[in-house]
Amino acid sequence: MNAILDSLSTLYLPGALPLWCALLFSLASIWGYSLVVRGDAASLGFARRSYDFFVLGIVLASVVLALLLLMRDYRIEYVHQYSGNDLPSHYQFAAFWAGQKGSFLIWLLWGALLGLLVKKTAGRAEPVVMGIYTLTLLGILFILVRENPFVMLKETPLDGQGLNPLLQDDWMVIHPPIMFVGYALSAIPFAFALAALWRREYDGWAARAFPWALAGFLVLGTAILMGGYWAYKSLGWGGYWGWDQVENASLIPWILGTVMIHGLYMERAKGRYRRVNYLLASLTYLSVLYGTFLTRSGVLADFSVHSFVDLGISGWLIAGMVSFLLLSAFLLATRWKQIPTAPNEDPFFSRGTFLVLSTISLTVSAVVIAVGTSAPLLTRFMENPGQVGPEFYNKVNMPIALLIALLLAAIPYLTWKGEEPREILRRMLWPGIFGAVLTVAAAVWQVRDVFHLLFVFLASLALATNLQKTVAKYRAGGLRMAGGYLSHVGVGVILLGFLASSAYDQSAKVTLEMGTPRKVEDATLTFTRFIERRGFEKESMEIEVVRDDGERFFVYPKLFMNDRTQQVMANPDIRTTPFQDFYVSPIDYDPGQPRIQLAKGEAGRIGDLDIRFVAFDLEADGNAMAQMAAGQQFTIGAQLAVTRGGQTSTITPLYRLDPVNGTVQTPPMALPGGGEIVVAGINAGTGAVQIEVLGARNPPKLSVDVTRKPLIQLVWFGLYIVLAGGVLATVQRLREMRVRDTLPAG
């Protein structure tokens, strides 16, 4: 009893109570729905109201956490950990999802709210669908109740620890919450699929789950696009995709979600893939759970750039994953034989066969990415655990991309009943010419690798055939019929952008001295000035770039110290032109060393002075060796040859040390032509001196990574097209659903 009271006193009740109530109401709702399933129709109202109260609890808890963050209430451990007095207000809100607990809460919040829509649209399947769906939310809620975000500290600190400076970026406000909408959406087709299996009602779920699957695809795709922008435009990671485990964790469900969309399309159109779709809906959701496990359990802590620290929830995550896996496996195994299937009688050159082949290819891609991402886990039990780098993913996905481009290119000409290959080739004439022209252009440019040329040909062929079909569909029935083909056009564009920007980028790391032009490939870079911090505008560096063709522009990368953590933060700057991005990412800034260290005979430069260290003068003020031996104060001179403007003079500044009390005197010595020189230190071990010139400095130096990314715009542009096609398809599926729902029941 005392233990419970103790734990109560460490929790902030206005936040923790709604969470507990939500837990009770979700259990009540599941219980109510299960009564309905067993035939007690009267419990439906109870189950629905309980779900509403569950949502209310989650909303309240979220509002309380948001308010605590906005009020900077540092009594709350979570607020203390992720907020701080110096944090601008929009980041204060974004701190909500900066940590593990808050991001689980936002995931749960979206899931709970989406459930209200699921409840309304599930039709007769509602009790089972909602029962299973609420079960998926319950899993997250369990973690939150255990790892409560409302834990209070014993004392109230005056300041929080602040938000990780890497996360203080505009994308932080928008990217993570959208990602979690995508994760939350993935549970909906899963619930529909399992409910259909449970009820042995194998028809109808696909139509209802279809718009949800499309929405999940769209939202997750948008989130991935934003993450790419974030990595590329502000983090300065040099690229939009690094095959990092956290990135892969969102990519795998997206690919599987894409496969699911095509599976559902096949089922709706031809009654095919009925068994497979159950599998796909389960796999998509389970891959979200698996990704969450990989990135949040701490198993990858030594391998990933941005995985979370371990909260001790690995056990929970594994338990959740395994129980949903077992539930899906059990339902599928017991129903497998009963699920009606249509016999596969498609000829090879038919839409059905090509769709099957594309879905297999995409699934294989998802599997190899999952295997690569799991490398640290898979090799854990070997002698030396390891990981695979981007080379692995690029290499294994290359043949898949080629195959998918080929399939995509043919699909617009295929019908369900099959086509003559010769007929397909004949209709591919113009797209083929387009592809050939682009391939020749690529070869003329700099593409020499045969596989890359084939890649260019197939990708541009797919782009052209699908574009042709999109236009034809648009003419025939309006743009809304053309969503799928439009997305495929986007895929062709993206593939071209991928190849150009990743395999043909040129990167050079250079150090620029302020004011001294330096040539990098076809451009001359000059570090012109350092711009001091102004308000929220961080310190930036101005670099003038002059191209060989005469084009002149400035870039302003930022490199600044985070005041709180003393971490050096870098933001790249990008000059975008239609065919190329000129990407300048700062690595290091040296404000100009006022000192140089010289060994005997060595020469160095400070300001406009060339200084050569000739030798030590041990007789500068009495015999230094004798003084040292006697333990008295001794004086050493450093004989320097100083050259300024062609005039060389020899001077001997002094270094005086009193061994008794350790005091050092270094009288400055006037330089011919102005300024003073000082021996700032002597390194007895190496026989080197440190020389400092008062009133002079070396020019500041800026180290940057200069990268040229050809055609990277195609990646973004292609993704926009894919998503636009997805929007059209979603609208179309929703229309179809509405039309059917208004039909009189037959």
């Binding site: 990780n164 002698e383 390891g386 692995f392 003393q566 690595i587 180290s703």
Partner: protein
Amino acid sequence: MNKKNRYYLLGGILLLAFAGFSFSSFKETLTPYVSYEQAREGDRMVQVAGALEKGSTSYKDVEESLYFTLHDPKTRETLRVRYKGLRPANFEEAISIVAIGRFDESAKQFEANKLLVKCPSKYQGAEVKEYG
């Protein structure tokens, strides 16, 4: 054997071939964590981890390379590393460094082409940054 089965067989063979290709790529690109002793055998890409030995860093402008010594707190072994590239920010403050590369037998040093630098951070324990 009818036509359909022949397609399935072909598909199966292709999938198997791809699985083999993936497996060999996996083995080839896998960079295992190894001890310094194993790294010195130097026949493949590996990663080594350790702490930065104080005062061991030097930068050679001419070859644009960073030299430093890693030491393993457990075995107390050390390893001299050369990283061809610019000195990462906050390098001296690193609490641990992972170097990915291979051992160069003739130069008796580890040639790193990528560094993961873990810097102290009050936030989530530490901040890892990638270079290379």
